[in-house]
Subunit: 282 residues, 2 copies
Amino acid sequence: MKKIHIVGLGLLGGSFALASKDKFPDILISGTDADEKNLQDALNLGIIQEAKEAPDADTDIVILATPADTLGDLLLTTLDQIGENTLVFDVGSTKAKLCELVADHPKRKQYLAAHPIAGTEYSGPNAAFAGLLDRKVTIICDLEKTDLGLKEKAYKLFDALNLKLRFMDPEEHDRHLAFVSHLSHISSFMLGKTVLQKMEDEKNIFDMAGSGFASTVRLAKSSPAMWAPIFTENKTNILSALDGYISNLSAFRDKIAANDGQGLSDEMSEINKIREILDLEK
Amino acid sequence: MKKIHIVGLGLLGGSFALASKDKFPDILISGTDADEKNLQDALNLGIIQEAKEAPDADTDIVILATPADTLGDLLLTTLDQIGENTLVFDVGSTKAKLCELVADHPKRKQYLAAHPIAGTEYSGPNAAFAGLLDRKVTIICDLEKTDLGLKEKAYKLFDALNLKLRFMDPEEHDRHLAFVSHLSHISSFMLGKTVLQKMEDEKNIFDMAGSGFASTVRLAKSSPAMWAPIFTENKTNILSALDGYISNLSAFRDKIAANDGQGLSDEMSEINKIREILDLEK
């Protein structure tokens, strides 16, 4: 592992760079970012050693870490640029469209569809840190379509970074993520919005917010530039998740309106079983 | 401060006991709980030194820490039991109905309406810990209706426990809390429910859940016995918060359906201003 090139030097791309440099001190990391300030910050922070538009022909791995709606064009461009021993993987939160786009591409076997489930509510190179990826689940889609030798390169990096790999098809990935990630972000943003609207009438409302509110609203700090494209790219699955959520909220609302204390309590007891599931995952 | 009596020895009542004993080692804490096992646990854990149904006549402070829908009757009973130098305060999450109930009670001045904004997703005496209340905002309602001398007793305890006091009328309290606490719990429970429903079709879905999901769904582990009564006690305000939330979700849904990336991004950028507000509160 001698050369990595990263396109998109934000939280995830930047953290890949920092962690890779930690594990492979002799590696040369180049990269680029559509935002000139991000690129300069990435150089100043030592995230990349060299600013460069396209990867060198002998680059081992190219990581694509830009917003979800830009990954399609970027992947096609990158496949045109790379040498034959280079692997490209993206780290986007949606996988189906991307995998479909390159399904019949002559260089398909040089691409690996990856999604590390890692992030914080902050964004940009300044938010990146080497520990972000440590022991995080990373989903790999359509594994069989990637060249065996090039996969070995990816495994070498993933193992060094302590990623926990899971494998599934891209449609399954997108369906699952709509529920366990994308929906959370929407529920959090809308919670933030609802309370901000209330604050226009009622001052100091946030002074009374406890740790529960902070926890549920945390994701409302997330980057719109990252999330708006995810919501439209994974539209069908997200609408299905969101419709289920709204329908559950409406039914719960009606139980409150009817003073149905027993019904509310029974329903919440049933949902409490999420305790065991979440604790199991730890 | 020589004697405290606590009714309801769960997370909040138990934590008051442990913190009070920390700060006033010579104090005698008695208490009771409707659940025999909780009572026994509280004795075994040293949360109370004595199990006792009613407070002694020379008890300094009685703390009522039972579910919201039981506090009305309990407060009336307690006011009948206490000596004239005893202060009673409750720690319930709703205040308006309670304050109205005792507005003209002959012993009104021996009651203080309090709400410490403190909790975790766990419940019962085993979840109690002395640090829970440390530096937590505590809302006091209708302060002027409590006897001056008895208030001093409460202040002595609150100061020792490092509570940060805020003052407002009970209606304002209930309106605010519907938005910054009660709504969060509903959004979290319904998120948990929506994902559990999906899990019936799709296995291993939680394996892909990141820290964002864990954070937004954490409150779905909360106690139904505590929360169902809060939802019905504060019904009007919660329905107003919930209707606003559902309406915001539906409008956001429509933007996704319309592929309105710019609209989604603009809306989230606006909501991002919650960053400064939340960081300010720290």
